[in-house]
Amino acid sequence: MNYVNSAVRKKDAISLVSGKPVYTGDMIPQNTLVVKILRSPHAHAMIEDIDVSRALLVPGVACVLTYKDVPSSRYTTAGQTYPEFSPYDKLILDPHIRCAGDPVAIIGAETLEAAQKAMKLIKVTYKVLPALIDYTNAIDNPIIVHPEDDFKTLIPINAEPKRNICSKGDFSFGDLDAEFAACDVVLERTYNTKANNQTMMEPFTTFTYLDAFGRLTVVSSTQVPFHVRRILANALEMSKSSIRVIKPRIGGGFGAKQSAVSEVFPAIVTMKTGRPAAITFTREECMTNGSPRHQMQMKVKIGATRDGDIRAIDLYAISNAGAYGEHAPTTIGLVGHKSLSLYGSLRAARFSYDVVYSNTMGAGAYRGYGATQGIYAVESAVSELADTLGIDPTVIREKNMVREGQIMKAYYNEPCNSCALDRCMKTAKEMMDWDNKAAVRTLPNGHLHGVGVALAMQGSGISHVDIAAVELRLNDDGFYTLLVGCTDMGTGCDTILAQMAADILDCDIANIAVQGVDTDQSPYDTGSYASATTYVTGGAVVKTAEKLRAQILEAGADILGVPAEEAEFDGKQVLVPGSGKSISLREIGYITCNGSRQLLSVHESHSSPISPPPFMVGMAEVDIDPQTGKVNLMDYVAVVDCGTVINKNLARVQTEGGIAQGIGMALYEDIQYNEDGKMINNSFLQYKIPTRLEIPNIRVAFESSYEPTGPFGAKSIGELVINTPSPAIASAIRHATGLTFTTLPITAEQIAMGLLKNPVPEEK
């Protein structure tokens, strides 16, 4: 069989396209309490008094919980392996309000109407405090976001909460000063990115109930069911053994659901009332109190010789954790690791950072996880450096890019085992017709024209941290059950893992049943994030399937009464060549499920000491209306090295989807706060993600390297693909207009007003 590297339809596709009730919100049992949250209108305040007595009188209200009713252990909602890097800085309900929308009370009621009525009757007296909104002024600001004494970190992250510092640190190699001194050109630029929202179409949704054994069962749209179990245990001061988490189909996550955003609210209602409870966040709640990308400001200093040898980069980033530090001390690392490592030519580099608290919404994990911000800054600087030196931006990259066989000094000294970045660039240039396109400055319609390029990389799982276990069973009748703990969130990992198993077991993919995650029944997996699933869980699938294959051969040979070495397994039967002796898989299934023999069930786990980067090249072509500043993206070319492509369709759609999100970040998605710290763009009416009219023809090609440590030679793809649009589009705009924009999104207004001040000189 050859499912790997083909275009297999997702195993759950038909139920999804025919609208079957497979999501969390479709399964909420009858008589479940509706959970609503009263949220703070203030960005920074203390609750002086809260009176719920009238709310409790509303017919149908089962409970109204305030900070007086919740456990006092601080925890983190970050879905990370224990001990988490994220500080334990959160309570379920806290009298200290740290951002607009922070929860003030939790209501459980028979109906939505009763809950809403009760919400209006809760009387809260706030002492409103001055709010810290400008995160670049957070350090040593008199406004302190986390003054509490029970703030806790499990791992040294250099947190100084009394100075609003959540984490800080640096790493470097080489002699930076000497290298800069030897450079002919040194460029210094400051870049800003916004707190983009993932806007997965399915809002945060969870329901909870007590099962027949009295255990808390949590059905949730989550990327991290096993972490949710621990997070809830921490937050509710319960034992993990009394919690079970089930993940049905998920309507998108993109990192948002790598935090336990919604789970704790129905969970505490169920624990207090004994009743089933459910919450579905409104879109406004998803926007204002979700877990968006960390807003960052990055300073890049880059030096090169006249002929374009990039020698040194000094990168500093300040990251806005917002009100809570979930994922903040870890996203920041990728800003440096994943940007500086793109350039094998560097003789010296440094990355230093501060992660700070402010009274804006707490940030979290969003596809790219810091790499997106860092790559935008470094790639923008490289493009401008090329322009300054008069070198084609593709040529300067070809000259300096990381290559297979190098040691990546900014990437934990990991070896670059597999890298086709050079081939990606060659193919991308051909697809874009770069050399000809780059020469065109104006179009026949009078519009400005430009092309831009960027490199990107990511990782494949978290080295030494992520772990995946897989169980594979042979059932009677000869079909298999593949049990995994990673979380398909629409990406199709349940299918691609079955593809791998089917190839090893030489069977029809329909012969492999896969299930969603249930922490009581699925093998442990850290979850689907950090681009881990294909690489790490895939690695576990390969091990498990190979072992099961060997066991089937042994069992078959044993039944046939021959040594295993003399028999073969072809996926359908175990046979002894030349002897006419054989036994079908179906019969082996029946026999092993029948008393006298061992059941065939294999369980293996996998982790990796390295996190091999996938690479890509992205190229954007823009047409800009000089009078309105409107950017018309004409074309986007993406050439990706994700190692072996496991599923051609799904890898392509991952790429197209990631680029579309990247386009949103580059041009449209603009979180704004008013002076009081309330988010203005809190809906799909005001926060504009790209529609299909904003997205150009995205042309995707693959140039595969072979990753020796990956399953079938594969690396990751999910996060990588969001990283090129911002720098590629920014550079294309610069080439079209001559203007340099360093703050995202680059709006039509910025361009038009920029051109008004600095018109493009007439072509001679």
């Binding site: 275009a7 339809r9 997702k10 759950d12 596709a13 038909i14 139920s15 999804l16 396209v17 025919s18 609208g19 079957k20 009730p21 497979v22 999501y23 479709d26 993932q198 806007t199 997965m200 179409m201 399915e202 809002p203 189909r249 998920i250 309507g251 998108g252 993109f254 409104t282 879109r283 406004e284 969130m489 629409g490 990406t491 199709g492 599923n647 369709n649 799904l650 392509r652 759609v653 197209e656 989807g657 990631g658 680029i659 579309a660 999100q661 809906s683 799909f684 009416l685 993600i689 529609t691 299909r692 009219l693 997205i695 023809n697 995205i698």
Partner: protein, 155 residues
């Protein structure tokens, strides 16, 4: 108040609150294909047909559906799977949460526009947001589906 309407070919009479949205009503009637992605009439996930025309069920009150014919994906299963197969063969359903609303609008478009160009397709479907796919696979699937329909028609 009482309404009587035709839901997926069946006559239903129900007592409803005056301000109930068609979306809430349909979910209560077990039409779980109908999804909600926003509160601002912006996302298209809740698209159903009212008298064969695509509408936002979040914006239409159930009371207004009185006397009308409402179709959800539960009522066009065969067609949904027929187009859905083309979508799935591009990997274009992804998380699937926007698929029902999107497919209902695609099927409405196919009824309304005889030979749509790429631009017409994109414009007709612009009110259907999707965050997973970047929309390219949607367009590929629609074009293949239209070609398939044309071939069928010739036959």
């Amino acid at each position: 108040m009482q309404i009587t309407l035709t839901l997926n070919g069946r006559r239903c009479t129900d007592e409803i609150p005056a301000d109930m949205t068609l979306f809430t009503y349909l979910r209560q009637k077990g039409c779980y294909s109908v999804k909600c992605g926003c509160e601002t009439s912006s996302c298209g996930l809740c698209t159903v047909w009212m008298d064969q025309k695509p509408v936002l069920s979040c914006s239409v009150l159930a009371a207004r559906a009185d006397g009308h014919e409402i179709t959800t994906m539960e009522g066009v299963q065969q067609e949904a799977v027929e187009f859905g197969t083309f979508l799935a063969d591009e990997g274009g359903e992804q998380c699937g949460f926007c698929s029902p609303g999107f497919i209902m609008n695609v099927l409405a478009m196919v009824r309304e526009l005889p030979n749509p160009t790429d631009e017409q397709i994109k414009e007709y479907l612009a009110g259907n947001l999707c965050r997973c796919t970047g929309y390219q696979s949607h367009l590929r699937a629609i074009k293949k589906y239209l070609a398939h329909k044309q071939k069928e028609a010739v036959r």
